[in-house]
Symmetry: C2
Subunit: 421 residues, 2 copies
């Protein structure tokens, strides 16, 4: 797509967003239902356009030697498509954030003043080869009254074409503007640079994928960007902690799923409990975990190998755990402040005061006491489906749900008031 | 300040922010009180360091031929300094946004989940030759638990040095880290480029000043920026509107203060009331107003001159009003959607349905019915002092008060819960 075409498409998306913003919830839910029905039909027929398109994407990806894990994320089958339509139906049953009014207040001069929730406008979603993100992003944007421009990875090109045409058909069926969903054909990265430079047309860019993609978007963006870099999650086992709880939480946080941003990467152990807890970690080593410890940790767990300086603050996304013995609670806070990525941090403790201090003083999008880091997730925290997760503090910090795809504008009911001083 | 020094200063500010974030309200209010007392003392002695420094700035500005209006914004006297200390005392009496907890909820697995309000961290304030902004920005950042890096205009160099040393003394007196206030010596614009590139050290940049400064910051920023471009404010006088109200609101919105962003720039009049309202505007012309009208408007107001295409969507910041007759309510909405700057838009009407539609469909940070556009102001809307005003929708839309200098992090109280699926 050349620059002029992309700009024209963004302008059409903007016009669509304007009409979408004022639509009642029922109109938007009708689109979600129509899309769910269409996906059910695709899922039911093996030769459907969607499954055929995806099969070609997968075949091409395999022949081009794409990593097996990525091919798996790219693949669609009946079950995965039905999961999409189920998610659409549950989103249809979710509340509409748009139109809520908060803080109405009567001013001394009689003005009635408050704020109302409105859509952001046009959201640019930039992601990799995961077709399910196409439907998720469209649905969340639509439910919150936003138009979306979808630039997925080129490996999913055909799948995304099929999915976006289903989205546009559902919009048309419900009488909403088709341009509320626009596919940006993936070329190199030029179209990303152009897209995130369209200030005045695009209200927010959300990159979802590897750190390189996110840095590229941030580097070139002239529009606001929601960033999610690394999830370097720590767990601190405090003096006097229940070691059975610690043991269970470490196993869950590190091993329940290793390739995710809220998985544990570094365990900090108070020296007072190190001798009792660390040898127990041998059990996890038998489950395939590699432990990289500091000197004191290695002395207590001979199977561990010595950590190198760059193992601190590192996101392994693998069955690898950095392990450090710390002399105090404050030393743990200092380590987290230095090496954490503002994502997810947890403490295991029995001490009331230190639990409160940890919650207050640790700077991360989610801070937990006696719970697994894996709970930093839109669904687990009760937000519902998430559009992404933010590790920068502006607008959203942590999982982004429907509410984070909206903003508040001031509304004023007057009776002819004028301003004096 | 060379790049390395600036980076080191930002790192010190970051450390200060970390300790500031956990301080109780009383500590922060003590700083505000100490600074207020110090400013009272400066105001009382004509030869004080602050007034002497400001006098040198003013003398230099005048001899270098700085515009008289800018010199006036630069000038400090006893009265203006006392106004600063009064503002500090009222801020000290305002609630502390930090630490508030919202939406605590018990999840099905027993986790207690919610969000708590925290400071952003380090705020870079980039502004022009207005010394009062130095104290305002420091005070709002401090009250909300943030460290601030202040880069004011070079014309106010000596005044800002004096003010920031008072801020740092007040911090020290109350036992808080002096690096919560850092002056960035103004050179060319290099230090701005460096400052707004320090992602990881600076959490937010707020440029306050002319459009050129704001575009420069946005162009070079790698950290989030709160933007405030133009205030192209419209007022639409609807069919059947009370023309006495319209007349009064137009005068107040356009002439009460002309050089401000919430002043009226373009009046849209429904054709059904044009013949009755527009001739009345002659009264404002006698008050020195220049009207630039479309053909139909000029026919009704001969003293008006013909508007040129670039008068639509233009921020005059002067005694000039663009005037257009529109055939319908929808034509007015279209004009605003095309030419507005998302700042402030008002309607004068007696019609319930169109009032509701205007409030719902017009995209601006503040939308008013039967009230002057001049009310889009932190103080007037009940926010208290404002750090700036945002015309972009992320994080803040409209005036930014204390709350907008904070964000929400998730907190989770667990009892050993682990994640299943």
């Amino acid at each position: 797509m050349i620059e002029a075409d992309l700009k024209a498409a963004a302008a059409r998306a903007r016009a669509a967003a304007r009409s979408l913003g004022a639509r009642p919830r029922a109109d938007k839910d009708r689109v979600l239902d129509a899309l769910a029905r269409a996906l059910d039909a695709e899922a039911a027929s093996p030769g459907s356009r969607l499954l055929a398109a995806n099969a070609s994407d997968v075949a091409e990806a395999q022949s081009s030697g794409l990593d097996a894990a990525l091919v798996d994320r790219l693949r669609l089958d009946g079950g995965r498509v039905l999961a999409m339509s189920a998610a659409l139906r549950s989103l249809a049953s979710a509340e509409d954030p748009v139109g809520a009014v908060i803080g109405m207040e009567r001013r001394p001069n009689g003005l009635l003043v408050g704020r109302t929730r409105i859509p952001l406008g046009v959201i640019a979603m930039i992601y990799e080869a995961r077709p399910n993100v196409t439907v998720e992003a469209f649905a969340l944007a639509l439910k919150s009254g936003n138009a979306v421009m979808l630039r997925g990875g080129k490996e999913a090109r055909r799948s995304n074409e099929a999915l976006v045409s289903l989205c546009r058909a559902a919009l048309a069926e419900a009488g909403l503007p088709e341009d509320a969903a626009t596919l940006v054909p993936p070329g190199g990265r030029d179209e990303i640079r152009v897209l995130v430079g369209l200030s005045g047309l695009i209200d927010l860019a959300i990159p979802r994928g590897g750190e390189a993609l996110i840095r590229f978007v941030t580097e070139h963006a002239k529009v606001p960007v929601i960033q999610h870099y690394k999830g370097v999650c720590h767990m601190f086992v405090d003096e006097g902690a229940d070691l059975d709880v610690a043991d269970r939480l470490v196993e869950n946080a590190k091993l329940q799923r290793v390739g995710v941003c809220n998985a544990l990467e570094c365990l900090l152990v108070h020296e007072a409990v190190a001798a009792d807890l660390i040898p127990r970690l041998g059990r996890l080593v038998e489950l395939g975990l590699e432990v990289r410890g500091d000197e004191r940790a290695c002395a207590l767990l001979p199977v561990a190998r010595a950590a190198t300086p760059d193992d601190w603050g590192r996101e392994f996304l693998a069955k690898i755990l950095a392990l450090r013995v710390v002399p105090s609670f404050d030393a743990a806070l200092d380590h987290i402040a230095q090496y954490g990525s503002n994502h997810t941090e947890a403490i295991v403790t029995r001490d009331y005061g230190r639990a409160q201090r940890f919650l207050r003083e640790v700077d991360a999008s989610c801070v937990l006491v006696n719970a697994s880091t894996r709970f930093n997730d839109g669904g687990e925290l009760g937000l519902g489906a998430e559009m992404g997760i933010s590790t920068s503090k502006l607008h959203a910090y942590g999982p982004m749900g429907l509410e984070h795809l909206t903003t508040l504008k001031w509304i004023v009911y007057g009776e002819g008031q004028i301003r004096g001083g």
